[in-house]
């Protein structure tokens, strides 16, 4: 008998009496000033939140946020950058990117997370090999909790999707919190309507 059939057979034989699947409550709530709470939660997770004045340009804002950066790789039409993402052949080509720029699909107020998929990144490694990541977020696109996020069923048909919440971090040595563990050292959300 194959391992598969043997395992499934033993599982079937040993399964305890069937228990019902509970229906999930909506967990709806009214949130006043969702963007302000999103921002507070993002900051708590080590993220940054930078507003660009309506008169200002994204290009100028990015240059002033990262004055020492050489390689900007952009996956958004609002900013050209210096490394066109369309010309990236292999993910490892992104190893020298200082700043990656993407647009999130939406944000989660409860946690300060942003939802990104392979469609937004174009090359998934952009979100992890870049030293810093800038995420454009339409302030109208916010959901209250993770329950609401996971009810957007169609989003999860993406080949790859991730809730990013602040930069990569570790506290594996004596609990000392370090932002910039193995992936991005900083994550900056810029509220900007599409």
């Amino acid at each position: 008998m194959s391992s598969r059939d043997e395992i499934l057979g033993r599982v079937r034989k040993n399964q305890p009496a069937p228990q019902p699947l509970p229906k999930l409550p909506a967990f709806d709530r009214e949130i006043k000033a969702p963007l302000a709470i999103f921002k507070a939660n993002l900051l708590r997770m080590g993220g940054k939140f930078v507003e660009v004045p309506a008169s200002g340009s994204i290009t100028a804002a990015l240059r002033s946020l990262f004055p020492a950066a050489k390689v900007f790789c952009s996956a958004v039409p609002e900013f050209a950058g210096s490394r066109p993402i369309g010309q990236v052949r292999a993910p490892a080509d992104l190893h020298d990117v200082d700043v990656g720029i993407v647009r999130a699909v939406y944000g989660v107020v409860e946690t300060g997370s942003v939802w990104l998929t392979d469609r937004e990144f174009k090359v998934g490694a952009l979100g992890f090999l870049a030293q810093h990541l800038v995420v454009l977020l339409d302030p109208a696109e916010l959901v209250p909790t993770m329950h609401h996020a996971y009810r957007r069923r169609a989003d999860f048909d993406a080949s790859y999707g991730v809730f990013m919440t602040g930069p990569t971090a570790t506290a594996d040595i004596e609990g000392v919190l370090i932002h910039g563990a193995q992936g991005i050292r900083s994550l900056t959300v810029i509220p900007l309507p599409v």
């Binding site: 599982v11 009496a17 069937p18 190893h95 040595i173 004596e174 000392v176 193995q182």
Partner: protein
């Protein structure tokens, strides 16, 4: 197989005073952070009930969900493998790597691959395996197993890490600055990410409805392990299934709050379809789980989401360190899981508990951990796996506790003993309770003596 002596292992840890004080404080700090998070959520208890019920439903329909998961993963272009046990898992992983002539493997933390002892198996077959989680990497370089399921190197101080990195990565042995050490690991691991032939992760959840693998991490190493190499392998215990995407909401809201006291991990990644030109393989691993599913009292342990909250709250774990348990899983959850792998080897573990029930009350999926610990004690006593000293002590205790007269005499004598025995007798090798602690001063009278003097004479005093 040698029986793990938890008390002996603990005594080694306890001797290192700086270590044990820090360990205790660090884990209790995580417990307090967890409390702050959960107390801020009015629906926390509702979520616990939901999480427990969803897991119990899934486990009692597990075969169907496994088949649904396999169907959907296959449709996604993923190759699904099934492993009866650790040996078959390791052979499958090696087979996948070897077929692609892969010689280097970057991997994120996975308790399952530790459970299967996969690393040495691959290394003896010429595969270079690089653990990329900072804590797990420290443990790999120090040739030690992880001591905590979320914080593999929590028993080490920065000076220990400085020593390990100096010996293995060539860092400055006198520099134990935490930022320097973490940066050293980042810069030495990065070339491995860029050039590795294959990447590997475990899974926190697997969703039957979509065939998705969900991985919750903070460091970014899991995503780097998947997004760069052309081959990705995920090893998943069969109990990790969830029916639908919407159920993730319940568990993602609880996992990191329980584990680290943060609202969510920095990254919650959902891998479903391999990117163009690459391969993705999933190995579904049984290794004793289907047997455990049939154990009336113990199948609930399969609900575990490996948050580690029970470890952080456990007074015994905090003061003995994970390595003293001698198994892949330590702390209260290890105490109830490890004996299912080998009853004799782990027969001392169910006694590494005060049965205070704190583990049960912090468990996000409502596993009755302390009750299961008690059940294991019964089984170990029935199967005659108790060490002689413990058996004799239990026999005497049974006699004394079963007779009010003997009990009273013993309590009075014990009180007198604490007050009058010379130190060399109280704190000798024969009295385990006198090791590493001062026995508290006995009150001048026993409760019974006090009661008889103050209340006992009242006629019909009961109301």
């Amino acid at each position: 197989m040698k029986r793990i002596d938890h008390a002996e292992g603990s005594s080694r840890f306890i001797k290192a005073k700086d270590h044990i004080e820090f360990h205790d404080k660090r884990l209790w700090d995580l417990r307090k952070k967890r409390d702050r998070e959960t107390e801020a959520m009015p629906e926390w208890e509702e979520l616990r009930s939901l999480a427990s019920a969803i897991k119990e439903h899934t486990l009692t329909h597990l075969a169907d969900y496994l088949e649904e998961f396999e169907r959907n993963a296959t449709k996604n272009g993923v190759t699904v493998h099934w492993a009866r046990d650790a040996a078959e898992h390791n052979a499958i992983v090696f087979g996948i790597l070897d077929a692609k002539r892969a010689r280097t493997l970057v991997k994120s933390k996975s308790m399952l691959t530790d459970e299967c002892d996969m690393r040495p198996f691959l290394e003896t077959r010429g595969i270079k395996v690089i653990e990329t989680d900072l804590g797990e990497r420290i443990q790999q370089l120090d040739d030690e197993p992880p001591s905590h399921i979320v914080l593999p190197a929590v028993h080490k101080l920065r000076t220990d890490v400085a020593r390990v990195f100096a010996e293995t990565l060539g860092t400055d042995p006198t520099n134990s600055d935490v930022h320097y050490l973490a940066e050293s690991q980042r810069s030495t691991t990065r070339p491995d990410f860029l050039t590795a032939d294959a990447g590997m992760t475990g899974a926190n959840f697997a969703v039957a409805e979509t065939g998705s693998v969900v991985v919750c991490t903070n460091e970014g190493n899991a995503d780097l392990s998947v997004h760069l190499p052309k081959l990705y392998i995920a090893s998943i215990g069969i109990e990790k299934m969830l029916p639908r995407i919407e159920h993730l909401g319940v568990f993602i809201r609880m996992l990191s709050r329980s584990a680290l006291g943060s609202p969510i991990t920095q990254l919650t990644s959902h891998f479903r379809v391999p990117r163009a030109g690459t391969e993705m393989h999933i190995v579904l691993v049984d290794n004793g789980r289907s047997e455990r599913l049939g154990m009336d009292d113990f199948w609930y342990s399969l609900k575990c989401i490996r948050c580690g909250a029970c470890m952080n709250t456990c007074p015994v774990y905090r003061r003995s360190g994970g390595l003293s348990y001698g198994g892949t899983y330590s702390g209260p959850i290890g105490v109830i899981i490890d004996p299912t792998f080998n009853l004799r080897k782990y027969s001392a573990l169910p006694f590494a508990s005060t049965l205070n029930g704190s583990c049960t009350s912090v468990c996000p999926v409502k596993i009755n951990i302390h009750e299961q610990i008690y059940k294991w004690r019964e089984i170990i006593a029935e199967r005659n796996q108790l060490p002689i000293a413990k058996k004799e002590a239990m026999r005497m205790a049974g006699k004394v506790l079963g007779s009010p007269k003997l009990y009273r005499a013993a309590v009075e004598a014990a009180g007198a003993g604490v007050a009058h025995l010379p130190r060399f007798m109280m704190y000798s090798r024969l009295n385990a309770w006198g090791r590493q602690r001062e026995v508290p001063q006995a009150p001048p009278a026993t409760f019974r003596q006090w009661y008889l003097a103050n209340r006992g004479k009242k006629k019909g005093g009961s109301r």
